[in-house]
């Protein structure tokens, strides 16, 4: 099976709002999210040959976004180490919401460990089946469901009164 480029193009363009939502749920702010997605689309260009026309295009693109995000986190960690070595401390986002110490959903998502956030984003926000989500993250189903369970529990706690700590 193959698709003409125009078909592929219109499919990717149709997916953009969903891809932006996914990127938004991973990153700290809208601008970072769009940067992440743009970088991922540029990667898609050079890895087009890896897409098999009989697999879900959205899953393939989610996977690329995930890879781009993990790379971004690694380079952030490197930068952070560099700053810390130089005696600087990176500004941390304020995780406290306005209403009586309760976190917003976005803030609560930021409190989750990366692996749980990815699972939550793919299943609870993007609405993907477990199987697809596990494939995208690259873990067995059991790992996905346990990350999802921990992520859910953490979010329930965070979205009640309290903060990250």
């Amino acid at each position: 099976m193959s698709s003409p480029p125009d078909l592929l193009q219109s499919q990717i363009i149709e997916l953009l709002p969903k891809l932006r939502r996914f990127a938004r749920s991973l990153t700290r702010n809208p601008h970072d999210a769009d940067d992440l997605l743009q970088g991922a689309l540029e990667r898609a260009l050079t890895h087009l040959e890896q897409w098999q026309a009989d697999t879900r295009l959205d899953s393939w693109l989610y996977t690329i976004i995930k890879h781009a995000w993990i790379d971004e986190l690694r380079s952030r960690a490197r930068r952070k180490r560099t700053f810390e070595d130089a005696g600087h401390v990176e500004d941390l986002p304020d995780h406290r919401g306005d209403a009586g110490g309760t976190l917003s959903v976005e803030q609560a998502m930021q409190c989750l460990p990366e692996d749980q956030r990815l699972a939550v984003a793919l299943v609870l926000i993007e609405g993907l089946p477990y199987k697809e989500a596990a494939q995208i993250i690259g873990v067995p189903m059991g790992t996905l469901t346990s990350r999802l369970a921990r992520g859910r529990q953490r979010l329930q706690e965070l979205l009640g009164p309290g903060d990250c700590a």
Partner: protein, 254 residues
Amino acid sequence: MTVSDELLAAYVDGELEGAERARVEQAIAQDSQLAQRVAQQRALRARLRGAYDSVLQEAVPKRLAQAARLAAAPGPAQVIDLARVRAERARRGSQRSVKVRRLTIAASLVVGVMAGVVLQRLSTSAALTEFHDGSLLARGTLARALSEQLAGGAPAGAEVRVGLSFKSRTGNYCRTFAISGSHLMAGLACRDQEQWQVLNLVGTEGAGVPGNGQNLRMAASSLPPALLQAVNERISGEPLNAAAEAKARNDDWH
């Protein structure tokens, strides 16, 4: 029946089917605490969705739409890669790697059909097209025909014959064309910033090429399938009739 957190989550996430699903539903119906846990999980899902769904309503920034277009239609680099890969493959004979196979798939995505023919033809008709910033632009006879020729109005022996014209969903004009020569090609070009951008180019084998018949304007059924699909993807409404086509030309395809 005891329902574990994990099973409950699977239920809320729509992962259960058939008997298993029915059993959980029955348990929920009989146990108000369980029903409350389900409600909590549903509320969490709804709250997460609610927080991020607004993104779907936002206008997609231009830079992303542009990146998506490039991602899907990478242009010359991929096509040239294919040529290299093919040469490589011919040299290596039977050592056909997975990578080659993948690239071949990619190439079929990029140029539709008969990539080899298109490449060969492209290299011999350089004067008709030019790659510019990743776009294939019409030049020379092709550009002139697209700007000036009316469907069915090609002079005898013309190298380029324009087929149907239409307005795209994004509001610019597009036209199909056929190029004659040792290998026939058909394509679709759309107006973009005072130029004709060639979006599709497919090799054909003579039959069913727009440009061979007289009544071309509405003869969408005679387009090669890949091209027909490209037209269907873009067209807004019906193809232009003769009057609309002439008017569009007189307005310089604005």
